[in-house]
């Protein structure tokens, strides 16, 4: 089938502008729902980044003073090692810390430029024998007071906080976003149906003179796709803004805070944008295919 590009372009733009109110409604709904989807992905990734350090039984992390010398380091190591309440410790040196840091802040040049490897605290990841909340917080308090210890982060605080947040994100926002996605599909579907109804005389003539179903469908499907893509593009813009806001929201005063805090890497933003665009395309293609389906049976 020879599809004349000029024809398709003319028909698609005519359809989009003829129905401007409905088009705007569906674009905005697509935008809002995908903005929520994108933000959900960001928050979820951030939460995952934050809890990633507490894997394999690690319950708290003892961050050491960046200016610590070798003897002081050995003393802390011996102290932790000799504690009968502690099963296992592992040292994270400056290099490893910096690698993790670079991974978390990949693409954020200003942060990467301002923080050098030597600014970052090295740490011990600690796996206690007793993993109950009381026991872990007692140990954390004990080591927080120790000489040459910069700070102690216990998995209990962080993870509990994160768990609550991710549950909210998972259940609340996802449910909300699903409803909105359904609404936007229906709006796109309705916009296309309306456009087709407005042009039923043309469509009737096209069928009579032997236009193929695809020839008739393509401009309408493109109309749906354009709506989805505009909504998706707006949502991608929103994802970048959301990242900025989340960054600003969190206090980033020093290297430790950067590591401890909820952080969103550039790869997470890319992931969020990819999901947004893929959803936009899938959503609009499926709705437009459904809307124009009746043309398959002549």
């Amino acid at each position: 089938m020879a599809l004349n590009g000029n024809y398709v372009f003319r028909e698609t733009t005519a359809n989009l502008t003829r129905n401007i109110t409905l088009t705007v409604a569906s674009v905005l709904t697509v935008f809002v729902s995908l903005a929520i989807v994108g933000t959900t992905v960001l928050v979820r990734q951030g939460a995952q980044n934050m809890t990633r350090q507490f894997e394999g039984g690690v319950e708290f992390i003892v961050y050491l003073d960046p200016k610590i010398n070798d003897q002081q380091l050995a003393a802390v190591r011996k102290d932790l090692g000799d504690n009968p309440g502690i099963r296992k410790i592992s040292y994270v040196n400056q290099e490893e810390t910096y690698t993790l840091f670079k991974k978390l802040f990949k693409g954020q040049e200003s942060i990467l430029r301002n923080v050098r490897a030597s600014d970052l605290p090295t740490s011990f990841k600690v796996e206690p024998v007793d993993k109950s909340v009381i026991s872990v917080s007692q140990l954390a308090t004990l080591y927080r007071k120790q000489a040459n210890v910069y700070d102690v982060t216990a998995a209990t605080d962080v993870i509990r906080e994160m768990k609550g947040m991710t549950t909210f994100v998972n259940n609340g926002l996802t449910l909300f976003a699903t409803f909105l996605l359904v609404a936007s599909s229906l709006l796109i579907l309705n916009t296309i149906r309306t456009a087709m109804f407005a042009r039923r005389r043309e469509i009737e003539v096209m069928k009579l003179v032997g236009a193929t179903n695809w020839f008739i469908r393509v401009p309408f499907m493109l109309e749906g796709l354009v709506q989805g893509l505009i909504g998706g593009a707006l949502a991608v813009g929103f994802v970048f803004l959301a990242r900025r806001w989340l960054d600003e929201l969190l206090n980033r005063s020093d290297g430790l805070k950067l590591l401890q805090n909820f952080s969103i890497a550039s790869s997470d933003v890319t992931l969020a944008c990819l999901i947004v665009v893929a959803t936009a395309v899938a959503l609009s293609v499926i709705s437009s295919a459904l809307a124009t389906r009746r043309f398959l049976d002549v």
Partner: protein
Amino acid sequence: MIKLENVSKVFKGDVVALREANCDINKGEFVFLVGPSGSGKSTMIRLLNKQDEPSTGAIYVAGKHIGELSSWKVPYLRRNIGCVFQDYKLLSNKTVYENVAFALEVIGRPRHVVKTQVPAILELVGLSKKHKNYPDELSGGEQQRVSIARAFVNRPLILLADEPTGNLDPATSVGIMRLLDRINRTGTTVVMATHDRSIVDTMRRRVIELDRGSIVRDQARGVYE
């Protein structure tokens, strides 16, 4: 060119619009379908270009059993069948030229073909001077000529006309019949449903008469009754 074998069409509520119809129409023939209102003329025409399916029986167009045509091939069947209707079915937001060009554009004909064919066909139907007018600026006869131009611009093998003069006065109808006759003389098979006694009686072509869905008369060089 067209062959009906025991074709019946039953609509819901047991309305038999066509009953065991058999006929054979050769290439280049001009056939009138006559009969009282509701006798099944339009139904038969709609079956020929697959706007509707027969309930039973087989229809052959240009040697093909159209009932067995897969749905993606139907548009290609229709490119060989021009259609003219009582109500013209012109697009009111397009000019005369655009209405005719539309039929070529939507079947993917290249622009240079459109640019040469459309003026030629408008010349044939005598509307070259009005190619920039919109349908509502034309008389009924002129609108019907535009619709004939649109049906014929792709040089179909068959032209189906369902009461093409139904809304026109006798003098204008004669003009339309001259045009259809001219098209028929180029070798195009024409099937025309009509109530117009004088047209049938003066043209003296093959007449197929329907009555309550049955073919009751099939006469070469026939008259209306």
